[in-house]
C-alpha cells in the first residue's frame, strides 16, 4: 500500500505510535523514546519510499533496509505489520518467548529484517558490504541504513563511513536518528559528537539535514538522494518520544517501558491527536 497524501501518512504514523505504546506495555520492557521518534521515518519508508513487497519479503530487487540501532525495532515492527508483513495481533508477542518479534531484531526469525542487530556500530559496515554486492551483481536497488547518534560514538561506524568513501558508493543512504539522547543522558554530555554534517562531508558524503517529523522533507530528500553519485547521509533531527508529551526529549525514556497508567495517558494523547488529524481537510 502506497500512501501519498500527507494526512494518510500522518494517520498511519499515529497508528504506529499507538502500536509502539501497546507493544511496550505488554512486553514490560523496551525502548520507547527512539521508537516514537522514528515512527514518521519508518512510516515514510514502508508506505512511500521503499521498493518492497510484504508478501514477497525477499524479492531480489527489493530495497534493503538495515536497522543498525536495533533497540528501536518496535517502530519497525509496527510499520511492517501495518504494511502487511504480518498480522497486527502478533505485535503483542514482542519480547515474549517463542516470538518472531525478538527484543532486538533477529533476521533468522524474521528474514525481512535483513540483519540481526543491536550491537551498535555494525549496521553501516554491513550496508557497505551489501552496496558492494549490488554493484558486483549489477543490481539497482538502494541500501538504506538507519542508525543512531549514539552509535556514532563507536569507531566502527566511522570505519564504515570511510569505506563508503573509498569505494565511491552511490547506492547507500544512511539515515541518522539525531535525537540528541542516549542511555546515560544528552549526547553532547555523554560523548560530544559535534557536527556530524562536517564529519560526513570530510569523508566525501553528501549530507542533508531534515526535520524527521516532516513527511514532505523526508520523502523529497530521499528522492533527491537516490539521484546522486555519492554516498548520502540524511541527518534527521528527531524529537525522542515524539507524540507523547511526557516522554518527549527525556533521555530517561530511552529504555523504560510505560506502566499501565502511563500507557493509558500516552494512548489518550495519541488518540486525541488522531481525532484532530481526522478533522483536518
Amino acid at each position: 500500500m502506497k500512501l501519498t497524501n500527507l494526512k494518510s501518512l500522518q494517520l498511519m504514523a499515529n497508528q504506529v505510535r499507538q502500536d509502539i505504546i501497546g507493544m511496550l506495555y505488554h512486553a514490560g520492557s523496551g525502548h520507547p523514546a527512539g521508537s516514537l521518534g522514528m515512527a514518521d521515518i519508518f512510516t515514510a519508508l514502508y508506505f512511500n519510499v521503499l521498493k518492497h513487497h510484504p508478501k514477497k519479503p525477499l524479492m531480489k530487487n527489493r530495497d534493503r533496509l538495515i536497522l543498525s540501532n536495533g533497540h528501536i525495532c518496535p517502530a519497525r515492527y509496527a510499520a511492517m505489520s501495518r504494511a502487511g508483513y504480518f498480522p497486527y495481533k502478533e505485535l503483542k508477542s514482542l519480547r515474549k518467548i517463542n516470538s518472531r518479534l525478538q527484543g532486538h531484531p533477529s533476521r533468522v526469525d524474521l528474514p525481512a529484517l535483513e540483519l540481526s542487530t543491536a550491537s551498535l556500530g555494525q549496521g553501516l559496515g554491513v550496508a557497505v558490504g551489501m552496496a558492494l554486492a549490488a554493484r558486483l551483481n549489477k543490481q539497482h536497488h538502494t541500501i538504506y541504513c538507519v542508525s543512531s547518534d549514539g552509535e556514532h560514538d563507536e569507531g566502527s561506524t566511522w570505519e564504515a563511513v570511510n569505506a563508503a568513501n573509498k569505494y565511491k558508493l552511490n547506492n547507500i543512504i544512511n539515515i541518522i536518528d539525531r535525537n540528541n539522547i542516549q542511555i546515560s543522558g544528552y549526547t553532547h554530555k555523554v560523548w560530544p559528537l559535534k557536527s556530524l554534517k562536517e564529519k560526513y562531508q570530510a569523508f566525501n558524503w553528501k549530507v542533508f539535514e531534515i526535520n524527521g517529523h516532516n513527511f514532505r522533507q523526508i520523502i523529497t530528500t530521499i528522492k533527491k538522494a537516490k539521484t546522486l553519485n555519492q554516498p548520502v547521509c540524511i541527518i534527521a533531527y528527531n524529537t525522542p518520544g515524539k507524540g507523547v508529551s511526557f516522554m518527549e526529549n527525556r533521555f530517561e525514556w530511552h529504555g523504560k517501558a510505560p506502566d499501565k497508567e502511563k500507557s493509558v495517558l500516552a494512548l489518550i494523547e495519541l488518540q486525541r491527536a488522531r481525532k484532530k488529524l481526522l478533522k483536518k481537510k
Binding site: 520492557s29 519480547r95 518467548i97 527484543g103 526469525d109 546515560s184 555523554v190
Partner: protein, 315 residues
C-alpha cells in the same frame, strides 16, 4: 585511632551487579580507584560511584574498545580502573584490546561485565552473554570470577581490587535469593563447598546455583555442592578432593557448554582422574527473548534439567 566513616548503603540490593555497585562505592575511599563506563553506567551499577566521585569517573560513550585502552593507560600509571559494560560488548567487542593492552601488559585493569547468561531475559540473544568465559579463558594472566549472589559480588569486587593484575568479573541482572551472607569468607581461587555430601559432586558458578539448590531438595541423598566462583585459575585441590570421594561430577553454568566452567573442569578431570561427568549449559545455540524462568526451562538449565542430569549420571 581510625576515623569511622559513615557506611554507604544502597537500598534494595539483590543482584550481583548491585553487589558490584555497592562494593565499588565503598572502594572509592581509596583515591587510586577509578571507574569507566561505555554509556551503561546505571545498568552496570557504576552510577553510585559516579555520583560520589565524579572526578574519578570516566564516561566513555558507546565506544568499548577505546574504554579498555583508556583503562589500560590509567592502570599503567598506577590507578585501579574498573571498566564496566554488558557481557556481550565487554569482552566481545574489545577482546583484542583485552588480550594485548590489558593481559599481555599485565595491566591492573578490572573488567566488569553485567547481564551475563540466559537469565538476562527479554532483550534476547543479542544481550545474553553466553560465550564470554569461553572467549576469555584461554587468555593468559587473566583471573575470571563469577560470584553467585549479591554478598559474594561485594566480596569478589573488593578482592579483585586487592589483586594486582587483570580480573574479569562475570555479573548478572536477575535479583535472586542469596546463597551466602555478608559474613561468608571469600578468597579468589578457593572454591566454596556449599554442602558436603556423597555420591556426586555438583560444581557450578553464578546465581544458577539457585537452581541446583532447588533440584537437590528432591533427592534422597546429599550430593556435595561446590560454588566454583573462580573459573580461572581453577581451584584444582578442592575439586579433585571432592571428586576423588564421589567419583561423579555434574557441572553447571549459565553459559554455552562449550568453553565454560564445564570445559575447565573437564580439562582438569580428564587429565588427572578421568570421571563420568555431565555438563549443563546452553547447547551451542543462540537463545531468544523470554523471562529468565521460561528461558532456563526451555534451554534446559533449570532445576528439572539438573535433576534429570543427576539421575542420568547415577544410573
Amino acid at each position: 585511632m581510625v576515623k569511622k566513616t559513615k557506611p554507604l548503603i544502597i537500598k534494595e540490593p539483590r543482584s550481583t551487579r548491585d553487589g558490584y555497585g555497592q562494593a565499588l562505592l565503598e572502594l572509592g575511599r581509596n583515591k587510586n580507584i577509578v571507574a569507566l563506563s561505555a554509556d551503561l553506567t546505571e545498568s552496570t551499577r557504576a552510577h553510585h560511584f559516579e555520583k560520589k566521585y565524579p572526578s574519578r569517573f570516566f564516561q566513555c560513550g558507546v565506544a568499548e574498545q577505546n574504554m579498555i585502552t583508556m583503562a589500560t593507560g590509567l592502570a599503567l600509571e598506577g590507578k585501579v580502573p574498573f571498566a564496566s559494560s554488558f557481557g556481550v560488548f565487554l569482552p566481545m567487542r574489545c577482546l583484542d584490546q583485552i588480550r594485548i593492552s590489558v593481559c599481555y601488559n599485565q595491566a591492573n585493569v578490572k573488567l566488569v561485565a553485567t547481564h551475563c547468561g540466559l537469565a538476562t531475559g527479554p532483550d534476547g540473544a543479542t544481550h545474553q552473554a553466553l560465550e564470554d568465559v569461553a572467549a576469555l579463558r584461554a587468555i593468559p594472566n587473566l583471573t575470571i570470577i563469577e560470584p553467585c549472589d549479591y554478598h559474594q559480588a561485594i566480596r569478589a569486587t573488593k578482592a579483585a581490587a586487592k589483586l594486582r593484575g587483570p580480573v574479569y568479573l562475570r555479573l548478572h541482572r536477575a535479583k535472586l535469593p542469596s546463597l551466602t551472607t555478608s559474613q561468608t569468607k571469600f578468597q579468589i581461587n578457593k572454591a566454596q563447598v556449599l554442602q558436603k555430601g556423597t555420591k556426586l559432586t555438583i560444581i557450578g558458578s553464578g546465581p544458577i546455583l539457585n537452581e541446583v539448590s532447588k533440584a537437590v531438595e528432591h533427592l534422597n541423598f546429599k550430593p556435595e555442592i561446590i560454588n566454583c566462583h573462580t573459573i580461572k585459575p581453577l581451584d584444582k585441590k578442592t575439586i579433585l578432593k571432592s571428586v576423588k570421594k564421589t567419583k561423579k561430577a555434574l557441572i553447571i553454568q549459565d553459559h554455552q557448554i562449550s568453553g565454560g566452567l564445564g570445559s575447565a573442569v573437564a580439562e582438569l578431570l580428564s587429565q588427572t582422574i578421568p570421571t563420568k561427568i555431565k555438563i549443563i549449559g546452553v547447547k551451542d545455540k543462540f537463545a531468544e527473548s523470554g523471562s529468565p524462568e521460561e528461558l532456563l526451562y526451555k534451554y534446559k538449565l533449570d532445576s528439572h534439567a539438573i535433576l534429570a542430569g543427576i539421575r542420568n549420571l547415577l544410573k
